[in-house]
Symmetry: C2
Subunit: 188 residues, 2 copies
Amino acid sequence: MSRWEPNARSRLEQAALKLYVERGFEQTTVAGIAKEAGLTERTFFRYFADKREVLFSGAGALEELLVTSVASSPDSVAPIDAIAGALEAAGALLQQRREYSRQRQSVIAANPELQERELLKLASLASALAEALRRRGVREPAASLTAEAGIAVFKVAFDRWVNGSGRPTLPRLIRDSLEELKAVTSGR
Amino acid sequence: MSRWEPNARSRLEQAALKLYVERGFEQTTVAGIAKEAGLTERTFFRYFADKREVLFSGAGALEELLVTSVASSPDSVAPIDAIAGALEAAGALLQQRREYSRQRQSVIAANPELQERELLKLASLASALAEALRRRGVREPAASLTAEAGIAVFKVAFDRWVNGSGRPTLPRLIRDSLEELKAVTSGR
């Protein structure tokens, strides 16, 4: 029986990211992460299935935030603007964790297997957004195209944000990227 | 020394796909594929690094086709139309191999690891298309957004095509999906 540890999840996340940055993802073990966090391996496995999942544990909450935001936007809002509003809300949250996002991204960029996992999570987000639009009565293929366009905007905006100085903010870059997408698709 | 075998690559591809469909990807071995094709394992490894690569060996040629098509389209063509033209050319090739594409997709859909690999290949295509646009003088983030929008259109069109009856054709579905993307991004 191990005792309850305050902030165990957050401590493990921070310890893992620190070691992934310092030693590389491949070279880091669960035992090393637990030690760095001052916790046991057993506690680690209470929160995460493996060392890869530490980097993706926020995906479920992000998806829920996006889907709830799309569902709660008024019917009068055009589908693309419902998606944009949801992405900006997610962007505002990420903005508060920019250093974490930046380090996480550097770890993922260095490892093809992690890149693949990240892309699968983004594809899942696109599917969830398309489903949220269909529940608003948007038909196919409009629902899927709107959702995929939203994820494309998010990817490009996130990339600029995480590799830039942090200004403009992520929500602002998402808004700007959507405007740019509208311009390029109309052939300008 | 093994003797030269006619159409070895194509025979191995067909044998692999047949077994992946019949037995499942996980349950198929390289030895089984070689036997099915009437070839040796040694011949298999002359063409493919592993059994996963059999499904993705066409990605390089596809990328080259897309990039060449974008590079050779006249300067007067808008970036989004250069991308659309390239994707339609690729679609015309895939249209000739619809049954192969359909079976390949069913194998990939059944295996998360293969889905991740497929998404990574699509992300590589988006990067290559963005680079081709930058060489035409398109600036960032317009180049990346146009390329990502093109891949979004391709994904949605491919999905409709491969799960449909084969009509409309893939190039037609790509054209229709781009029109739909233009409509949804303009808020209709």
